[in-house]
Homo-oligomer: 304 residues x 4
């Protein structure tokens, strides 16, 4: 019998004592100011029980974790047609690399690197006003989390707008190859705002329930789509550290540069962790360690 209460509390205590917390992302000033001493974790089980530790109620910028939600929306909207514009392979390169776009005809490798996430957002935008599209994304996130208070942090979004040259480079590059269909500024603007959605660990763990599958999910999307999104999180969810995450944790997850990670235990649980300091791959340092400890302590893995 797994004592989740004890396991989660122990992880919280261990992480609080960690000295090397990695490096807080500073590519936009708003993220660089976050206190690296914070750590929070929340587990929601298929049975509906909730466990938490540390700063589990402190909101943070979900950043790239938002890509899971936009992918779910885009898959619901476009279905298989989405895969003509973005691939399903790990990239073998950094999350913001432009190299493979040039050698692979402007088609990004997967929906979780920046270029691929821009394609996903572009596919939802589809001629609508960014405001409308952002409304749709927020509605999906609020519904999945069961929490209408989730919102976009306008200061973070403005900071991304002001320092988003690299994403604009990716968008313009794909526009030159015909991969995007809306003006790069509109797609980038929408993307910057989606990344600025704020949640705390409890909200995020709840928002991930629809990926647990089985009866646990809320039927927001079909079981087949759940399977495919989880597969993509396994192979591509931690950028160029996805292989190591699969190797050490053995469960599908998606990280964000704000220090958050969403982890899915198929059929059993949805887990969110947050600690702002990152490792060299751009994933939360303590968050990754916490997830590995959780997997070891619970025996949760898809691989045995």
């Amino acid at each position: 019998m797994i004592d989740l209460n004890a396991i989660v509390s122990k992880i919280g205590a261990d992480m609080a004592a960690m000295e090397d917390r990695g490096r807080v992302a500073d590519y936009i000033p708003q993220l660089g100011r976050v206190d690296p001493q914070q750590f929070g974790m929340a587990v929601v089980t298929a049975a509906g029980d909730t466990y938490q530790t540390g700063h589990a109620s402190t909101p943070f910028s979900i950043q790239s974790v938002s890509k899971v939600f936009t992918l779910a929306i885009a898959l619901g909207r476009l279905g298989e047609a989405l895969w003509k514009r973005v691939g399903v392979e790990p990239s073998g390169h950094a999350f913001n690399s432009i190299l493979q776009l040039e050698t692979e005809a402007g088609i990004p490798r997967n929906p979780f690197i920046n270029a691929g996430a821009l394609v996903v957002t572009d596919s939802i935008l589809a001629g609508h006003a960014p405001r409308e599209t952002l409304g749709e994304i927020l509605r999906f996130v609020r519904m999945s989390a069961g929490d209408d208070s989730i919102h976009i942090n306008r200061n973070v979004a403005a900071s991304e707008e002001a320092h988003g040259h690299l994403n604009r480079a990716l968008a313009n590059f794909m526009m030159s190859h015909g991969t995007l269909q809306n003006a790069p500024d509109l797609t980038c603007g929408t993307y910057f705002h989606q990344c600025a959605i704020e949640m705390n660990c409890l909200q995020l763990a709840n928002a991930g329930r629809f990926l647990m599958g089985g009866n646990a999910g809320q039927n927001l999307i079909s079981a087949e789509k759940v399977r495919r999104i989880n597969a993509l999180m396994m192979t591509c969810g931690h950028y160029d550290g996805s292989g190591e995450f699969a190797f050490r944790v053995g469960l599908p997850g998606k990280s964000g540069v704000g220090g958050g990670i969403l982890l899915i235990v198929p059929g059993k649980a949805s887990v969110a962790v947050w600690s702002p300091g990152l490792n060299r791959r751009g994933n939360s340092r303590l968050g990754t360690m916490a997830m590995e400890r959780l997997a070891n302590a619970t025996g949760w893995t898809v691989f045995v």
Copy 2:
């Protein structure tokens, strides 16, 4: 209740009727001569039941599927020290690419691309004679399959020796970076012979049982190592088509250029399929399709 007999038979019949069988590997003459009209499949369940269809008793060259067995041996021998010489990340490049070796200091991305597999073989070789090392590899394969008749096809090995310039380039390149420890010709010679091991689908499905985990395995290696090898098969087992295999099939597997694929259903089954024609990623075309149909028909997946 899953009717595996009917499912496997149906897949066999469907595959027999397929017209586009992909392209047989022709980088060595011995492989190029294999008849592409062949297809075989074998399923061994945790309960010990066996199901088969088509040319399930015809021996084929397992080629890169052998990398699973040498990895298991090397992990048992070196443990975590192995990961100083080879990584655990998908490469984002072809199985025989040399690009990342140059930009990443001669350390191959993972043990399933050619460069990484050469490192694994080199780590087992460790100063011994190639003949001894090949003996050890064969013993492991025979024990896992429970079949002492499994052997190396000397003609195929000789053909690889005669046309193995690309692998020699990889080995010499890594030698110049200090990644290898034995003379490149010895490591390559051992590697060419390990790739020339012959099995049929029944033998290969049996040989994969130790990766099922739980009581199903034969305790050849620890549960932790099973978990890690399966994770690597999931993220890297099909070269630059690993993401798509995870996306479509949702189970860890390892393919070989001879047209074989070993698939693991954790806790449930070990599956082998063989059809010599390859798709553009270098994986068996019909084999990949057959595995996807098997996953869909049985509901086997690690992702829901």
Copy 3:
């Protein structure tokens, strides 16, 4: 004694008879509409004599040939400081490639690939209004050519603005690395207009006189700068075809995607050629052939 009159006429006649004229650039509609049957050539000697053939008086879009003039202006303005922001090495990649920007910290390889030319234009812009900067560029070109009628084709500039996503990608990418100092849209806008300058062969040959060196030049820039610009034209003036141009023609030159080439015979002549069809490297097909014939017939080369 070289009979330039006969040589130039013969080249004109030979080129008029050529069937394979390469492919007209079509990345912007305005360029795609140009008649590929045109060919013109003009030679201006150090003594001031002029020779011409074919469509030597037909204006064309000088495109990347403009990079020679902006480089001369920037060198005069910034001197050696320019080389902190752009290199002097051939790239080994296409003129519009973004690959090396990522692996080389956002510093373009040389001032004649697109990324490098954007840096040069950005360095002249330096906080001024694009209109002012374009005025300065036009003044330099008109003075060097001795012709105040030279102007910018506004339709071509507008067409570049509408289809300039790739250059915007390069500019935004360099902005994210701090290589550019003005807003990417301003730098790109200025660059698009400079590329849309129109000249005919006679005007362009005259405009190149300042690079002949010796007393032949008009002292627009110092001999040392002439030497360096010619060196860059030799090693980088024809993108990834620069080595072959040096190998076949043996003289410094700069090509443009509009089909123009400016060639410098140090101490002896300035030559302009124009034919809109391009070879696979993006340089004028007939223009390159004509320059090789001119070099062979006159014995002009810097290498013997």
Copy 4:
């Protein structure tokens, strides 16, 4: 009137006083042991006058400077057919890079990077015994230098054999693409020995006379071939520092990792310099500086 005696002496004195001498190549032990305090220079004019300073009579390993001589032999033997197996473009990468071989079908970019030089040597070897081919190379070098005492340092050659894994990787890689025609070990063995030819500055300057062109050369090869070899030295002679050498020195040259540089002043002089310490591009640090000072002091340049 140029006072070459004073100029060369002044350069010798200036270089003797330099403190930062770069780093001696240590990829083979035999080269790593050379005393970095040495500097020598020799100038041979078209009129046959000779000027020297420093250690101009101390023999050194010419290494990649040998590529000029093998290229001359191969061009005499194969003519234009050579260019089907090796290109004429600068690579934009390090001298020993394998990257472009993979993306460009195993055809090296030019005959002066290692891969290209291996192709040149392979084309001379052409089924003969390495000993015969080395005899032919030595005869060419001795004839051009007018000195039958020039020889191969067997210790250096043996050291290269023992540490030549990277060149073996290049050769095997090209063999897998069909670019080479002899067994990689034979081609590499011949190449290692050609690199181990020893000369002093006086010998090397004399050996370069055939590239001066005009009556100055000794008619070893045609004027057209002289032109082409000089063009290649200009665009590719200093690896990924060729652009800067053209930019600063403005004359064709070829460097070697032993610290030697051969410089050609078309129609005027052949110059050799040697100092073992290298700059970050792998070219002699003091040698490059000395050549720039020589060009500035004499006004020798092909670009004005």
